[in-house]
Amino acid sequence: MAFKIIVCAKQVPDTNEITIDFEKGTLKRDGVPSIMNPDDANALEEALRIKDMYPNVHITVITMGPPQAKSILMEALAMGADDAVLACDKALGGSDTWATSNALAAAIEKLDGGYDLILAGRQAIDGDTAQVGPQLAEKLGIPQVTYVKELNLNSNMKNITVKRALEDGYELVKVKTPCILTATKELNTPRLMSIRGIFEACKKDTIQWNAKDLNVDVDQEVGLKASHTNVFRSFTPMPKGKGILIEADTPKESVQKLLIYLKGKHECNVIRSK
């Protein structure tokens, strides 16, 4: 029996390339490249690392998204994944994290032969929520460890020891398969696609499933209507106006004025309270 790893990945706009249209209060997304979410690439790399170390490891990459999200699946295949699934349906659009995890869980449960390990990125750079991994774990009823920065799979293919990052260190956690682990960028450095890999990937086909294939309820499980959270409003922060020149009689006074301004800035939460 093969050791089956499922990697959950998301196609995201490269947020470093996004600029703001202040007139419209929206993002200028035209021409912004779409990429595989960076933490997800770490999750995939870890799966590939396990495949390099042990015989008979099978990697399936799953994503939910529009038809063009297939490009990150091709990338994953070229890096060395065995097969890839795209959950794609208009009815899945507008899903919040809970509804997304329902769709992914349905896709995972539909796969033949179950799974031993699910790897996902800690969070995606567009939403930064870090919620889908744990919500998927709950839906599937399996344990989770998030913020994984080091992973060791025992050769019995059952016991896993991970370092889970904390703000001021880490905890060493033992967990058994099957489980979900979410990857941070400290975990590894994702490999590049090889020429041979790209060639091989072109011969492989991705599986595409719609809501009906997934057997999900489009009113109560997935999509905008089923989502528990809705966007009430979205907007951009105010464009920068002219700055404030601080005038004071002494350096001490100007510094004090500056600190009062900085503390009052809502988004400037870097001056932490003691």
Binding site: F22, G169, K174, S234, L258
Partner: protein
């Protein structure tokens, strides 16, 4: 208001009060827990006179923290203690927290967006089949306050908002797309409304000695077999050297620092504020500091929350590498330096003097701010 969902009736009106997960580690309450009690206190009073703010304390041997919760503004504390809850595990904490929420039905549940809060909250929300908003930086329960915020800080067209609307529930505002976009999220159909909140954003109340409240002890229905992970050890590591690209605060120096030793003072300031030292090309070219610190088109492009430019005139190549910073503070002798064009706050003056004062006054920021607000 009664809404039919998931074939169950979720009567929103049966949910009342605000809960804050008072995260503690090793018997010490996290700062964000106190901040959230303060914020929860503010929201509770705005919802209604009889809405209360409760702290939820989970752990083992932590009853001594109950008083601290009262002191920072909690009306009451739900305390769940069990040896199995000594260290955080997703399974253990999820079970007892979910059971408590089901039993007492709070309307709002807030957690700090820490590595623990962000692990626990989605698991709890999924088990309760309710909505969760991540990493909030602002919470509102009253539309007029939200409109006021939106008008003064955002590009949102507030004419579409009805200031008499009382049915929006908790308005949870958070940044997305790397802070380029803000979204306000609501959870209209299910309860509780859950959110994680970024540490350091909300304001804790002044500590009130002698404060007291209502203590409710909840028995944990938990067995060893419920917990499927084992925490072998918790290791604290020394503060890592943060790279320029990851830094929240960057303190950069330029030729205006006068000499190489100016960077010693700058480093002292950076250490004080938990920031990373950056430099202009001029300072690097002068041999005052290594190239790895260079910010700009030919150095590193940075986007910290707070960028200080000391004695940097503001050549285009430098500005290109730092103009996306959330807040830019410039200090320069020359009032006509181009750096002031991109700065949010500017001080014309001697960098060394300003740096020395900043080192002295930094820790007083909160007191200075509070005093200024009261005026």
């Amino acid at each position: 208001m009664v809404i039919q969902i998931m074939n169950e009736t979720c009567n929103l009106n049966t949910y009342k009060h605000i809960w804050v997960f008072a995260e503690q580690r090793n018997g010490k309450m996290m700062s964000v827990a106190k901040e959230l009690i303060g914020e929860g206190h503010r929201l509770a009073r705005q919802i209604s006179a009889d809405t209360k703010i409760y702290a939820l304390l989970i752990g083992s041997g932590i009853e001594n923290l109950v008083t601290e919760c009262y002191q920072y503004g909690a009306d009451g504390v739900y305390l769940i203690e069990d040896p199995l809850l000594q260290t955080f595990t997703t399974d253990g904490y999820t079970k007892v927290m979910t059971d408590a929420i089901r039993a007492y039905k709070p309307e709002i549940v807030l957690l700090g967006a820490t590595h623990i809060g962000r692990d626990l909250a989605p698991r709890v929300a999924a088990r309760l089949k309710t909505g969760l908003t991540a990493d909030c930086t602002r919470l509102d329960v009253r539309i007029p306050a939200y409109i006021d915020y939106a008008k003064n800080n955002t590009t949102l067209d507030t004419s579409t908002l009805d200031s008499n609307d009382r049915n929006t529930g908790l308005l949870q505002t958070r940044p997305a797309f790397g802070g380029n976009l803000m979204a306000t999220i609501v959870c209209p159909k299910t309860r509780p409304q859950m959110a994680t909140v970024r540490p350091g954003v909300m304001k804790k109340l002044e500590k009130r000695d002698g404060a007291t409240g209502e203590l409710v002890k909840i028995k944990a229905e938990l067995s060893q077999s419920d917990i499927r992970t084992e925490v072998v050890e918790i290791v604290k590591t020394a503060k890592k050297i943060v790279s320029l690209t990851d830094a929240e605060i960057i303190c950069s120096g330029g030729r205006g620092l006068g000499e190489a030793s100016g960077f010693d003072l700058l480093t002292e300031f950076a250490d004080k504020v938990g920031g990373v030292v950056g430099a202009s090309r001029a300072a690097v070219d002068a041999g005052w500091i290594d190239h790895m610190h260079q910010v700009g088109q030919t150095g590193t492009t940075v986007k910290p929350k707070l960028y200080f430019a000391f004695g940097i005139s503001g050549a285009i190549q430098h500005i290109a590498g730092m103009q996306e910073s959330n807040i830019i503070v410039a200090v320069n002798k020359d009032a006509n330096a181009p750096i002031f064009e991109v700065a949010d706050f500017g001080i014309v003056g001697d960098c060394h003097k300003i740096l020395r004062e900043l080192i002295v006054e930094w820790d007083n920021a909160e007191e200075l701010y509070d005093a200024a607000i009261i005026k």
